[in-house]
């Protein structure tokens, strides 16, 4: 378990991280979202033991990171947002070098390296020089590198930046695979929708503070209160609308081209009841789904000016 307690990081007079507290449980994928300069990289560097906080603590399984950085290094895999590679070094030698820095015995290395290159789909590049790889490949290689000592916690700072859409999907697949083997992953991004389907919990950070925290659904609910439900019927739309008008918890009804959208402010049970009621009235429903609220809008709402986040 990773606990961040009241973390503060100041650069001179400027406060980059401002009293941040978080708890991330084992096996969770925590998405760290925020605009440029929000303090994501700073926080992640502190967790990785590269920066010392001005005040506050980071505890991993109850052990203070800043007090015992060496002890916790083997538990943490870190992938920075920007990184370089060495010239004149081949992919497998690159991996071998980092295996060496974690004192992994020579005899174990080949199997570990082959496995990891397989995981990030770089086996065919094993004998290439790392500086000749494309950016996306370097990114994948760096992910493999951060896993070389089999850490429990992975800290990935914008691992998907610079990747093409296909590589993003593949990166997500790799992360899901890592989740199934029980790794705790902290991943940062500027883009909320990108993390939404991957992460179990999301923290939106703005100006060094947590602006919203929870599962994607919770954050959406917290911010929008009302949910948008899309309903499609095979039959008459007018009929559907008249039925809907009699139902409770419906805030507003919008008639769209081939579907009806409603603003609903009840909970899950009330939503289930709504569907039951419509069907009991013999309306042929072919689709009843919650509109994935516009995450982009929510992100903008939370991170702009900041008036909207004060309840």
């Amino acid at each position: 378990m990773l606990e961040i307690q009241n973390l503060v990081k100041k650069y001179g007079k400027f406060t980059a991280v401002d009293g941040l507290s978080l708890t991330i449980n084992e096996g969770e994928i925590f998405g760290f979202v925020g605009p440029n300069g929000a303090g994501k990289t700073t926080t992640m560097k502190i967790i990785a033991g590269l920066l010392s906080p001005t005040s506050g603590k980071v505890l991993i399984n109850g052990v203070d990171v800043t007090a015992h950085p060496r002890k916790l290094r083997e538990k943490i895999g870190y992938m920075p947002d920007f990184f370089g590679v060495y010239d004149n070094l081949k992919v497998d030698e690159y991996m071998d070098f980092y295996a060496g820095t974690y004192n992994i015995p020579y005899s174990d290395r080949e199997a570990i390296i082959d496995n990891l290159l397989e995981l990030v789909d770089l086996s065919h590049k094993k004998d290439d020089y790392v500086d000749t790889l494309s950016r996306g490949m370097k990114q994948r290689l760096c992910l493999a590198r951060s896993l070389v000592h089999d850490p429990d916690i992975l800290i990935l700072d914008e691992p998907a930046s610079g990747l093409d859409p296909r590589a993003r999907v593949e990166m997500k697949e790799v992360l899901k695979q890592l989740k199934t083997i029980g790794k705790t992953i902290i991943i940062s991004s500027h883009i909320l929708p990108e993390l939404a389907e991957l992460c179990t919990v999301i923290g939106i950070i703005d100006k060094g503070k947590i602006a919203a925290y929870g599962t994607v659904a919770q954050i959406m609910k917290q911010l929008t209160q009302k949910r948008m439900i899309k309903i499609k019927t095979m039959g008459n739309m007018e009929e559907l609308i008249t039925v809907l008008k009699e139902q409770p918890n419906i805030h507003d009804i919008f008639e769209k081209m081939d579907e009806v959208e409603i603003e609903f402010d009840g909970d899950e049970h009330q939503l289930a009841n709504l569907l039951k009621n419509i069907i009991q009235r013999d309306i042929p429903i072919i689709s009843f789904s919650e509109k994935e609220g516009n995450l982009e809008d929510i992100f903008m709402q939370i991170t702009q000016g900041g008036e909207s986040q004060n309840d």
Partner: protein, 137 residues
């Protein structure tokens, strides 16, 4: 287990174009110094005969040259190694590993020292020319 930093440094250094270039330039400079010293000492066996006592001073001069060159080279070879990691943005990756800062520096230092030992070994043939004349033991 060998220091991984040393292992990597040696591997990449010897592969780059810089290592053979440095070696060639170094040997050319040292050999031309040697030639110059011999010319100045007028070590001309055909006209004057050979004076083995002169050979000792030539040896000393050449050794002095080598010392001078190495004194110039050591800072050039060692100074940029840590800041080079920083410029190349590989330093953070190194600092999060289990390597201690001490072993990183030792690895870097030993890599530079090995390179200098390589230069010294490669210069042995130049010195052996003097031994051919005799007078030094």
């Amino acid at each position: 287990m060998i220091n991984p930093v040393l292992r990597r440094e040696l591997k990449t250094k010897l592969r780059s174009w810089k290592a053979p270039t440095l070696l060639s330039v170094y040997l050319v400079i040292l050999a031309s110094f040697g030639g110059l010293i011999m010319a100045i000492n007028e070590l001309d066996v055909y006209t004057r005969g050979f004076d083995p006592r002169g050979a000792l001073s030539i040896y000393a001069l050449l050794a002095g040259c080598q010392l001078g060159l190495i004194i110039l080279l050591v800072p050039a070879l060692t100074s940029g190694t840590i800041s080079g990691e920083r410029e190349r943005q590989t330093l953070d990756l190194l600092l999060v590993t289990k390597l201690s800062p001490f072993s990183i520096i030792i690895g870097k230092l030993m890599a530079s020292i090995s390179q200098i030992i390589l230069l010294i070994l490669a210069s042995i043939p130049i010195f052996s020319i003097i031994f051919v004349f005799g007078g030094v033991s």
